[in-house]
Amino acid sequence: MKHCVKEPDMSKTDDIILTANRLDDGVVLWMTATLDWTTDRAKAAKFDADSAAIATARGEDDAAANRIVSLYAVAVNGKADQSAREVIRAAKGPSVKPPVDRPVRSSIPMSKYFHPVMKRAPYGSLRSA
């Protein structure tokens, strides 16, 4: 199965970067100048018209080898590479502040909240009454 790179929003003179997700865990990747993959957007290489074909072929090989998935090129033109999609991918995290979990669950002693008259959980006590 041929893994085609999606057509980027670009003119023929634009440089490109290549991005994808790692197959096994989905982490966002960018291709480096050595045709490896990095999780750091700052280390992404820009490929000109001559090198883009080589880089794209390498990306398609990696997709065919089941190392990456969802490969596509992004034009480095100040528009496509600065889109909300690319900014969010580069941020490596939610674009909003997620709730913070406590590392260890604290058990809530429900009995302290029962009404003084009730003392016990309502259903068992009422049913047995």
Binding site: M1, H3, N21, L23, D24, D25, G26, V27, V28, A63, A65, N66, V69, S70, R85, I88, R89, K92, G93, P94, V96, K97, P98, P99, V100, D101, R102, R105, S106, S107, I108, M110, Y113, F114, H115, V117, M118, A121, P122, Y123, L126, R127
Partner: protein, 394 residues
């Protein structure tokens, strides 16, 4: 609520095992992404901007404490410590690893949950009034009918590859609390002039990039004909819905293009072929399912001593008074109420809840709320069946 039997549990576990095998084949290269994508979508697994996302169905929005704790455990062990409750009574985990997804599905199966048909072009999770079975104003509990539709639509071979996703909502309250006007099919339980309960049927609603309010296709559908009528609607959509353009493939586009009268005629013609056929559920099976949703056994409780406390606290505690006004909903039993827990804290995305918060809510529901939690399309949680005397505890 409905309960899994041995057949249900065996099926869900088998499905999880099947997906484990599919994931192993994908990672080994035996399946290409094009081959794997429809398989993962049928199990609720998307690939989004940052990572894989797993959507888990919460049928008609009903959870028990064990299930909510189980979801909290998945959030903590496989995600970033939180989950996202959606507008269609699902929960999503947004930081899932493909390699760990089979373990998650196994864990879900252990507490009677799954992710089947939460994505892909099929009939999705059937949603309902989150106050069902507790509301003071409903004709009857709609969840039994949701369960009947769920069983009919799950793995329905004819509707596994629809033109696009298909969503159904059921509401039985005087007020529509299931957004039935914004679903492919909206079912409102109504009474006809003879006093019989049936369904007002709406079609062609939806949101997204082309929002449309659903239109009425049937003013009154007898309950015993529900499945054949749904089948007729789905057949018309399956045959006539567009498949050439993903943005024009929803039923709302088809209904608008045909016009509601022509769409109704097409459904009627299809229905004539199948109405009162074997598609309809046998009475005994229908009654068996509906029996799972009989009104909960709530004993009268004298709330007089607690009501004095509540009145006093409302007078002295402005926040409590505001919370009572906004978060308490009338129950059919005068000594009880339903309590809404907002998942819309300022500065946080609607519907997000940390694992710890889920566990705390599970504890409260178990102690005070008959071990039930509901998920709302407004992305909040509800604990129904709370004795009013316990409100100060909140």
């Amino acid at each position: 609520m409905d309960h899994y039997d041995q057949l249900d549990r065996a099926f869900v576990k088998a499905r999880a095992a099947q997906f484990r095998n599919q994931v192993e084949r994908r990672l080994a290269g035996a399946l290409s992404e094009d081959e794997f994508k429809p398989l993962r979508l049928q199990n609720g697994l998307y690939l989004q901007l940052h990572a894989y996302m797993l959507r888990i169905a919460i049928p008609y929005g009903v959870l028990n404490a064990k299930q909510l704790r189980g979801l909290a455990g998945i959030a903590r062990d496989f995600d970033h410590g939180f989950g996202h409750f959606t507008t269609r009574q699902n929960i999503q985990f947004n930081w899932i690893k493909l390699v760990e997804t089979p373990d998650i599905l196994d864990r879900l199966a252990n507490f009677d949950m799954h992710a089947i048909q939460t994505s892909g072009n099929c009939i999705r999770n059937v949603t309902s009034d989150p106050f069902a079975g507790a509301a003071a104003d409903e004709l009857e509990d709609p969840r039994g009918w949701c369960e009947i539709i769920r069983q009919w639509s799950t793995l329905h071979p004819e509707f596994a590859f629809l033109p696009r996703k298909f969503k159904i909502a059921v509401s039985a309250g005087a007020t529509d609390r299931a957004a039935t006007g914004f679903h492919d099919i909206g079912l409102r339980m109504v009474k006809n002039k003879a006093g019989q309960t049936g369904f007002r049927v709406l079609v062609g609603g939806g949101q997204g990039r082309t929002p449309r309010v659903a239109q009425q296709i049937a003013a009154f559908l007898p309950k015993h004909q529900l499945l054949s009528y749904l089948e007729a609607i789905l057949r018309v959509y399956n045959q006539a819905g567009r498949r050439d353009n993903i943005y024009k493939a929803r039923s709302k586009i088809l209904v608008e293009a045909m016009g509601i009268d022509a769409f109704r005629d097409a459904v009627a013609a299809e229905w004539d072929k199948i109405r009162d056929s074997a598609i309809e559920l046998p009475d005994a099976e229908r009654d068996r399912i509906l029996a799972h949703f009989a009104p909960v056994d709530l004993l009268p409780i004298s709330n007089s001593y607690a009501m004095d406390d509540i009145t006093e606290r409302r007078q002295n505690d402005r926040n409590f008074d505001h919370w009572m006004t906004r978060n308490i909903t009338a129950h059919w039993h005068p000594d009880y109420c339903s309590v809404m827990i907002s998942l819309k804290a300022i500065g946080r995305p609607p519907g997000d809840a940390s694992a710890h918060e889920m566990e705390a809510i599970a504890d409260i529901a178990e102690a005070f709320g008959r071990d039930e939690i509901r998920v709302t399309y407004e992305q909040n949680l509800i604990i129904p069946h709370i004795a009013k005397q316990h409100l100060p505890a909140f």
